[in-house]
Amino acid sequence: MLRLAPLLALLACADRPTPLVEAHRTGAGYWPENSEYGTEAALVAGFDGIEVDLVLTRDLVPVLHHDPAISTEHCTTADGGKVPKDTLIRDLTLEEVQEGYRCGGVPLEAFPQALVVEEPILSFDRMLELIREHGRADTLIHLDIKQEPGLTLPPQAFAEAIVGRWVAADLSQRVHVSSNLPDVLQTFRREASLYGVSIETTLIWPRFPVGASTSQVALRREGALLAGTEDYVKLAEASGADHLAINWELVDKHLAAVAQREGVGIMLWTPNDAALLDKLARRWPADVLITDFPGELP
């Protein structure tokens, strides 16, 4: 039986001095993102939450990966060669993904201090085993669904593969599902209801489509906030989401505070500086901070 404790009740807890801190992509500042090493290490470290990205293979197996295509930055072919551009995971079976490629073995400019550990791409099934082996009962599991129209399999395939596995695993941890597409969240809620459970969902804002200019996206969203045509409460209501995960650089603090008081959980991604995390935790309307350095906040 899937036990999905109402995250909102926890998030709204008035006497909680600081927000929960989630390990972004398992804690990409410390170890390879979305990796087996990182997942186990993050669970053992006992962070409040762990966030991972999920993409579906051709044979409908969810794997941990941030992009629809195998990352040319983080991964190599199994024999150490360069990953061809646009190698879509939806075109490969789990076996092909795991035997053909290795990720995490390439030092990253963004996180030079992070451990370099080369591994096959991690399956969601293995992640569930790791949660069972190492997870605290109160660890928040955040599944970010990387469904991208035209580049991945459709939302229904994601929902069936992921909700079914989560239910079958019968884990005690709280889980919530996020996406930057309202349709994906709706599909997951509908799928969960077939199992007789409810699932908490988080809308990620803003949406940066694959290949889009981040500056243009940010400017458009800023314009919409200024014009008042975009509103956090309205976004949550329209998508049916319980929470909003907002880029911390683009967030409008006042609107976030209003949304929080209206019962919308506010998550901020991805502040990475220790002093900044401390400030956001103490002074900003945030229920969850999603960071690559979850161990930096006292």
Binding site: A218, L226, D231, V233, K234, H254, L255, V258, R261, K279
Partner: protein, 152 residues
């Protein structure tokens, strides 16, 4: 309201005059708290948020009544002198003319520099969600530059 001000301007034959440019606008007054020191946002975001709130303020022909407009807010103020360069300010704030909040505070002028300190009562209303049930009080620190247009 604009028509009324224009009518008054015609009636009194007093022109509209630039009172100041608020480099830090008291309303919404959120720039310092959101983008200020200790918040390492990108230069682009900081720059955009700064430009959004820079507000020219115009003195109207009505004594003490001023209007200001930035990208972030459009406001009507009423200012009265208290003592020498010190005065009181009240105002109503809109965003694209949607009533959003009010302000009450004081200011002081040193030559061409105007410093203001106020409390902003801000609602969560937006055009997407015109709802005035939730209000927050935020501090506003204003820094304006310009020769006072009001006669006092």
């Amino acid at each position: 309201m604009i028509a009324l001000l224009l009518a008054l301007g015609t009636a009194t034959a007093e022109p509209f005059r630039l009172d100041r440019v608020d480099v830090l606008s008291e309303d919404p007054g959120t720039f310092w708290g959101e983008v200020g020191p200790g918040l390492p946002r990108s230069t682009t975001v900081t720059g955009i948020r700064f430009v959004e709130q820079v507000k020219p303020v115009i003195a109207t022909p009505v004594d003490g009544l001023l209007v200001g407009a930035s990208l972030a807010t459009q406001s009507v103020y009423y200012e009265r002198p208290v003592w020498k360069g010190v005065g009181l300010t009240t105002g109503i704030q809109t965003r694209l003319l949607l009533p959003r909040g009010a302000l009450l505070g004081g200011h002081v002028r040193f030559g061409r520099v105007r410093l203001g300190l106020s409390a902003n009562l801000l609602s969560g209303a937006t055009w997407a969600r015109p709802d005035w049930t939730i209000w927050r009080v935020t501090p506003g620190i204003g820094l304006g530059v310009g020769r006072r247009a009001a006669p006092w």
